[in-house]
């Protein structure tokens, strides 16, 4: 292979991410040149620009986008806007709530990942004004932009569940792993107590779009395993309440989980959405097609409805009609994350109104695509970068095993290691990836290196 071919592959790789075929071609190019060429080729693609790029939200998507932009632009002003000083490694919340990792495992500081030359305004966004090409911060400061990336994440709407008090998480059998690292740890204490005593464990997912739709399932499996390890499974009944007629949006995964739940003796109810909880009486009320149904619990993992944050929901950025309009998800093209009505606006991560994939894995594959489209606009070219909806979920099925489920918009399974790591098999190697490799990969993503 000559140098020109290699340069082209590397160039393609920078633009679209490296796919397996070009990786194999790269492999043929020889290991020596592998380690040297890509870095220099990437550095050579820096574009000069005076564009003002504002990124609302400095979570996984915001930081990764800032890193990618900073690496490929010279002279542009890149500004992140986010009030929260801490950074949360959210894929680790389940491990904290499972007693596998301490709280410190998921907490770091946003500034640790701030790329050189990128400004951080430590304020919340109060208002988006896409017609005026600016946003306004909580203190009333206008921040004008040429390009906007919205990566605010989503809002956990606990208030929508009558009787729910987040301060009570950890007490009285009330768990909720999503709320925060501290509440994930509190949930672990509540679940561990339940595993010692047995009783009725109630699990559920909300009727809205949600981040990491596998997490409610994982936590059911983990609770089942702790009960078994402590010899109390016979004293417990586990009930999983699905919001619709499926346990997972990908039909083949739904079937597999259905079989596993049957194997573990987890009772499943379909079309049940949590409406209210009575924390004192340990009573949950679900909305069902046949009217409200009460469930007495000894432990419950509450997962609240999830919606776009209010400033997004109250802005013209959201879907104007259809199923996503009400919850305020941003109206973007699902293949390039560009806003359908405001061409200089992109949405990444949880807040994007696209099917599936409110996960860090989605972010990892969305960011390079959106960034390339944004750069193409600056450079006056067309981008062919395309996001097919890839996301992944290491679905823990017991402590020490997981299924590495990877899929796309079309509900196809897209395994990274076909023939080696079977997607629907409970494997230790998938657990090893979840506990060892995922966080380093995530941090590399924040730094724009993966």
């Amino acid at each position: 292979m000559d140098h020109q071919t290699l340069a082209k592959i590397v160039d393609d790789a920078g633009r679209q991410g490296l796919n397996r075929r070009s990786f194999l071609r790269l492999g043929a190019a020889g290991a020596g040149s592998l380690l040297l060429t890509p870095a220099s080729a990437r550095a050579a693609t820096k574009t000069r620009s005076s564009a003002r790029i504002v990124i609302a939200g400095a979570g996984a998507a915001g930081l990764a986008a800032a890193s990618h932009l900073a690496a490929r632009l010279e002279g542009a002003s890149i500004t992140l806007v986010d009030a929260r000083k801490e950074h949360f490694y959210q894929p680790g919340f389940t491990l904290v709530a499972a007693g596998i990792k301490p709280m410190s495992y998921v907490v770091s500081a946003t500034r640790d990942y701030l790329p050189a030359g990128v400004e951080l305004i430590e304020e919340a966004v109060a208002e988006f004004d896409p017609e005026g090409n600016k946003l306004v911060t909580a203190s009333g400061k206008p921040v004008p932009y040429d390009y906007l990336i919205v990566a605010t994440g989503l809002k956990l709407d606990y208030a929508a569940i009558a009787g729910m008090e987040v301060e009570q998480i950890g007490n009285n059998g009330l768990g909720s792993i999503y709320h925060s690292p501290a509440k994930a740890e509190a949930t672990w204490r509540a679940m561990s107590n339940f595993a010692d005593t047995g009783g009725v464990g109630v699990f559920l997912r909300p009727g809205t779009e949600m981040k990491c739709a596998g997490a409610p399932l994982k936590y059911t499996f983990i609770t089942d395993d702790y009960l078994r390890r402590r010899g109390n499974r016979g004293k417990a009944e586990l009930v999983y309440n699905a919001n619709n007629k499926a346990l997972f949006s990908v039909p083949i995964v739904h079937e597999k989980v259905r079989m596993l739940f049957e194997d573990r003796g987890v009772k499943v109810n379909y079309e049940r959405i949590l409406e209210s909880v009575d924390i004192g009486r340990k009573l949950a009320v679900f909305k069902t097609p046949i009217g409200p149904v009460e469930l007495q619990y000894d432990f419950i993992n509450v997962i609240p409805p999830m919606r776009a944050p209010d400033p997004v929901r109250n802005s013209p950025l959201r879907w104007q009609e259809g199923g996503w309009a009400n919850d305020g998800w941003i109206e973007v093209d699902k293949h390039n994350l560009r806003h359908k009505r405001f061409a200089n606006v992109f949405a990444l991560g949880d807040v994007a109104g696209v099917p599936k994939g409110k996960t860090a894995a989605s972010v990892k594959w969305q960011v390079p695509v959106a960034v390339d489209h944004l750069l193409a606009s600056i450079e006056g070219r067309e981008s062919s970068a395309h996001y097919g909806g890839y996301t992944s979920c290491p679905l823990i099925t017991r402590l020490g095993q997981a299924m590495l489920v990877e899929f796309d918009y079309k509900d196809n399974l897209v395994p990274s290691f076909p023939g080696v790591i079977a997607p629907l098999e409970e494997l230790w190697i998938s657990w090893v990836m979840k506990t060892m490799a995922l966080k380093p990969t995530y941090i590399s993503m924040l730094r724009g290196r993966a």
């Binding site: 397996r20 990274s416 079977a422």
Partner: protein, 115 residues
């Protein structure tokens, strides 16, 4: 994880191990060089020393598995399929080979074989 870029692997391992990565690479490079140098110097394989190194290697393989289980919060009953047995064999094999080569090399340089 969808794609396998060697630079990504390097970045991930750097995040995972921190400075330990460079120490490990150093040990591997220096160890291998010393091993090759020893072979070139002696022009033979000392079978008594090799057997001792292999015994140490067995312990090294077990140690590698224990370390792996510890850092991945796993138990010893977690293997669920062929990919897992492959990974276990790989970890054990790397621990065994690495330890054996290092021990053989150290013994060789400390007590040169009488010819």
């Amino acid at each position: 994880m969808k794609e396998l870029d060697p630079l990504v692997f390097l970045a991930v391992f750097q995040e995972m191990l921190g400075p330990l990565l460079w120490l490990m690479i150093l040990v591997i490079v220096v160890g291998t060089a010393a091993f090759v140098a020893l072979l070139l110097k002696e022009r033979t394989i000392n079978s008594k020393r090799l057997v001792r190194a292999e015994f140490a290697g067995l312990a090294g393989g077990v140690l590698a598995l224990v370390l792996m289980a510890k850092v991945s919060s796993s138990g010893f009953t977690d293997a669920g399929g062929p990919a897992d047995w492959f990974l276990i064999a790989l970890v054990f094999g790397l621990g065994l080979a690495g330890t054996a080569i290092l021990v053989y090399t150290v013994l060789g340089w400390r007590q040169p074989a009488k010819s």
